[in-house]
């Protein structure tokens, strides 16, 4: 992820990195709509007050997104509303990935594999691959040790591989 120049347009930057931020936000929220809400909150706050700070914006933004997700979850009224929506619509199955027709089967396989991971494993995997954080940065985000972050990541990859192709990898 590149640094943000002083005159950069938020739109160009967001077009490029918004989907990654959104996927990370999905790990901490109950629905795609909630994820969009927290990304919006965090991104606007970042763009208004923090983009001139310099340095790599990824950890800052992801911390902000995680905090916004936690705040959102605490708001009883919103949570109740979302639960009502979830009850009426079933679980939130909006897609993590975009796929063309020929890629679709593989994409679904990966997506289902991700969804089957435990929350703690999926969180680390997403932060590492799409959040582009280091293990140290992930450790700080999640208040765990870098070693724990690294081992969760390896377990997550292994579990994903098994979830996706049990025959191929066990046979």
């Amino acid at each position: 992820m590149e640094l943000i120049s002083k005159d950069a347009s938020w739109n160009d930057w967001f077009q490029r990195y918004g989907p990654k931020l959104l996927l990370c936000a999905r790990q901490w929220t109950r629905s795609a709509a909630d994820a969009e809400d927290v990304v919006q909150d965090a991104f606007v706050r970042f763009w208004r007050h923090q983009r001139h700070l310099g340095g790599d914006p990824r950890p800052l933004l992801l911390t902000s997104i995680r905090r916004a997700a936690t705040d959102l979850a605490r708001r009883e009224d919103r949570r109740r509303r979302r639960e009502e929506v979830a009850e009426s619509d079933g679980a939130d199955q909006s897609r993590f990935f975009h796929a063309t027709l020929e890629q679709d089967e593989r994409t679904q396989q990966i997506e289902q594999g991700l969804r089957n991971l435990s929350e703690t494993q999926r969180e680390v995997l997403v932060l590492k691959i799409w959040g582009e954080l280091t293990f140290d940065e992930i450790a700080r985000q999640l208040a765990i040790s870098p070693n724990t972050a690294a081992s969760r990541y390896r377990y997550a990859l292994g579990a994903l591989r098994e979830n996706m192709n049990p025959v191929e990898y066990h046979g």
Binding site: W10, G18, P19, D37, D41, V44, F97, I110, I129, R154
Partner: protein, 151 residues
């Protein structure tokens, strides 16, 4: 980490992610546009020179002569009494634009309806003895944010 896991890792990193929605873009745009309006109020171009000129004029008229250095007041005059004779005779606020910005999201996540009204405030002073008048006009934007509650 074995080769298979490295391949899987590379495959995941190359996955095309779902795009962000237009709703999200609109929400961000609306909030950031609002900032621009707050930072740079939409003043008509003529105000850029008219306001400083009006301010200078007011200062020139109202500035107490006895506070100015002697060299700027070479001879005694009765201008301060003339200034004192300027009386405010009219003030009005002219509403020249109103705009409904629609539903916005507040910093704490609540939804609110935002309306914007643009006024031109005018104050007129006149000296009844000389009939000289001074008009002061300044634009003002009034933004109202009304929190929404869904029953």
């Amino acid at each position: 980490m074995d080769e298979d896991l490295k391949k899987l890792e590379a495959e995941l990193a190359a996955m095309p992610l779902a795009e962000t929605s237009s709703r999200l873009h609109e929400g961000i745009k609306q909030q950031l546009d609002q900032d621009e309006l707050t930072e740079k109020p939409a003043n008509p171009g003529w105000l850029q020179w008219a306001l400083p000129l009006a301010a200078a004029l007011i200062i020139a008229i109202v500035w107490p002569r006895d506070l100015q250095p002697d060299r700027l007041a070479p001879e005694p005059s009765n201008e301060s009494s003339v200034v004192a004779d300027f009386k405010p005779i009219a003030s009005e606020e002219i509403l020249y634009a109103a705009h409904d910005d629609g539903v916005v999201q507040l910093a704490d996540g609540r939804l609110a309806r935002q309306t914007r009204r643009s006024y031109l405030d005018k104050v007129v002073w006149r000296n009844p003895e000389t009939n000289a008048s001074l008009t002061w006009s300044v634009p003002r934007d009034e933004v109202r944010v009304i929190p929404l509650s869904f029953q």
